[in-house]
Symmetry: C2
Subunit: 401 residues, 2 copies
């Protein structure tokens, strides 16, 4: 009867660490998510060593809980997002998505080649500069009640575009690395199927729900609508991985579809306890992957600083240029919103390591960069959003810093 | 970016199977939990083979989700249970707990010895007849809105006593098996510490909360009380395993403590979505462990029937005798409420298998018996509770069948 003992202790540690970290962050006027990531860093190998890397490796229970946590988070963000609003910012979001991929890819590639890597390796490293992790930004926007702002819609729309492009880019880089040529026809098919999936599910699903959602209710069970949309969320999260997209894209679409139902308000309320229980796992575990010991030597530390600076600057520039039509302040918010790489950068780095493309050092640096960007963004974003409380009105005037 | 793909599919399958199974069961006027267990059997190795045993072994993500599910379930049952009510039925619950352990242990041991096992093996097998799995009964009682009935309080109280005694018995049997003598002093210490834990936490915790629970509220965060009691739930679930008790005992205590707070009603509502998402994992996975192929030969099938009949009859007799003061109908409900062995029997059987005490066949039969009792109980219990709708009033009159 003891087999469950260890994992229960770990769950308890992660959950309590998140609460304490979140509480401290809020007293320091920082977003709670910063505290949760920092708490992960404290209980992780850097300091207390209560959560070790093998406990959070891919496929472990904690990894799966973290995945469910971020899937539910993006689902709940989708629940607060109307398709109409996304369409309205479609053009800006597209520009932000495209430039937010191209600028980091170019700058990352140039840095890598300048540091002595051959072009095929450099492009792989560059790919790790690309993919935005929407979870962290989404959480900050949600915490500050800013999801209805125009900048937030742009960021969410751009995150979807970003994910499609990053997937394509990774496909190209991996086949270049394998010495194969790039099959443009195949690439086009992948692109079209991903876009088709998003369009059919997003637009079609939203239309079905707007047309009739009374079938979701069952009089004898107040939880039935929730169960159905949760099934939809898990299902679309899975299907989107089949199209090469991140699971959170499918979860976001599921939430967006559900936001068109007349149960939307109830669903939002019912999702809150799920987020309370499960999202801390995502953020604490993200934080626990930061190993400060790796930065203990001067060379690695310096390299990390440079890589992180490039990662932040390139995404900021790309996002800023793409969103210039929102005014300087709005564009800055959008740019910073695209900065976090989070777990996506880590996944690409792992791919590079197993493929033998990355050395241990460059792997460690890419991972640390991904997590540092995740760590740095929330306070900056919160600060920008709070002081830019009137950005919606002043969106077309240039703002001074 | 694909590592999460397989597990998302599995989560989707389990969750959807639970919804479909639950829906069918309810249309057949059966408790939803029957449908969820049956759905697990369908997706498990017996039929579709979508969920295989290695995916639900101890420590896998699905196993951990199932554990979290049953922990939350007993937490929510605790939330609907007042310490005062348990105290009021204390004497009956104690009798039910003790007789519900002794009768199955005696009958199980006699059957095993009669079937040709030596005494030390027979006692081990007998131990697998003992432990009640409170999860299944609790779910049926909750589904039927029967948690406030006197019989339900007796069952819940008895489940706690049952768990303490089963733990002691298992300790004795394991040391006998190891050829060591039974250290009565050690056993007494284990017993006292378990009782002490329950008394201190249950009575002390309830008193603290009744005295003052306003500190649970934070004006800026409506979820803060939930987060604190969930931390309490995970923490006590863990600590109770340290005392040799099942994790669900700690979770139940945490819920009972939380039921004394003035946030009790909000907490109950907030817990519902958590149960919707997570308890299906427990029941579907329980069902997926039933492998019907093992019953394909006549000898094993017959043996299983006998073992299951003894398991049901012995628990029913023990519980019935213990609860006779509730009248015949009430005692029958209590007796059936104690019948499910569920995962606890499985755990003991696994212990026996790894220790080399059990053959593969007796292991398979004990596992199947544990799950069959879990499967048979809900419909019978639901039927008894529905027709005995007036049992509370007629509790002292003898009822005819």
């Amino acid at each position: 009867m003891h087999h469950a003992s260890d994992i229960l202790l770990t769950l308890f540690i992660v959950f309590v660490a998140a609460q304490i970290g979140g509480e401290i962050a809020q007293r320091l006027k920082l977003p709670g998510v910063v505290g949760e990531i920092a708490a992960g860093c404290v209980v992780g190998p850097s300091m207390l060593g209560w959560i070790m890397p093998d406990q959070v490796a891919a496929g472990t229970p904690l990894d799966v809980l973290a995945e469910i946590g971020v899937v539910l988070l993006l689902f709940s963000v989708g629940l607060e997002t109307r398709l109409e609003d996304l369409k309205r910012v479609g053009k800006v979001a597209f520009l932000v998505g495209v430039l937010g991929v191209l600028v980091p890819f170019a700058m990352g590639g140039m840095w890598a080649h300048g540091s002595g890597f051959d072009w095929s390796r450099s492009l792989f490293i560059a790919a790790a500069f690309v993919a935005t992790s929407a979870g962290i930004t989404a959480r900050v926007l949600q915490e500050l009640g800013a999801l209805q702002r125009k900048e937030s819609k742009v960021i969410l729309g751009a995150a979807v575009i970003d994910d499609i492009l990053a997937m394509l880019l990774l496909g190209v880089v991996v086949s270049l690395q394998g010495g194969e040529g790039v099959d443009l026809f195949h690439l086009g098919a992948v692109l079209l199927s991903a876009i088709g999936f998003i369009a059919v599910i997003g637009v079609g699903g939203a239309r079905v729900m707007r047309w009739n959602s009374s079938w979701l209710d069952k009089p004898q069970n107040p939880q039935s609508a929730l169960a159905i949309v949760l099934a939809l969320c898990l299902g679309l999260a899975y299907v989107s991985t089949l199209f090469g997209l991140a699971a959170i894209i499918g979860a976001f679409l599921a939430g967006m579809i559900a936001s068109e139902t007349r149960q939307q308000h109830t669903l939002e309320k019912q999702t809150q306890p799920l987020l309370s229980l499960l999202t801390p796992f995502f953020f604490v575990i993200t934080g626990s992957k930061i190993d400060l010991h790796q930065l203990a030597n001067a060379e690695a530390g310096l390299m990390l600083l440079i890589v992180t600076a490039i990662a932040i600057a390139s995404k900021l520039i790309g996002g800023f240029l793409g969103a210039l039509s929102l005014g300087r302040r709005g564009a800055t918010i959008v740019g910073f919103g695209m900065v976090p790489r989070g777990e996506v950068g880590v996944v690409i780095a792992s791919l590079g390591l197993t493929a033998g493309v990355f050395t241990d050092q460059i792997y460690a640096i890419i991972v640390a960069m991904s997590l540092l960007t995740a760590m740095v963004t929330p306070p900056v974003l919160a600060w920008l959003l709070r002081r830019g409380g009137t950005a919606e009105q002043t969106a077309d005037e240039p703002a001074s810093h």
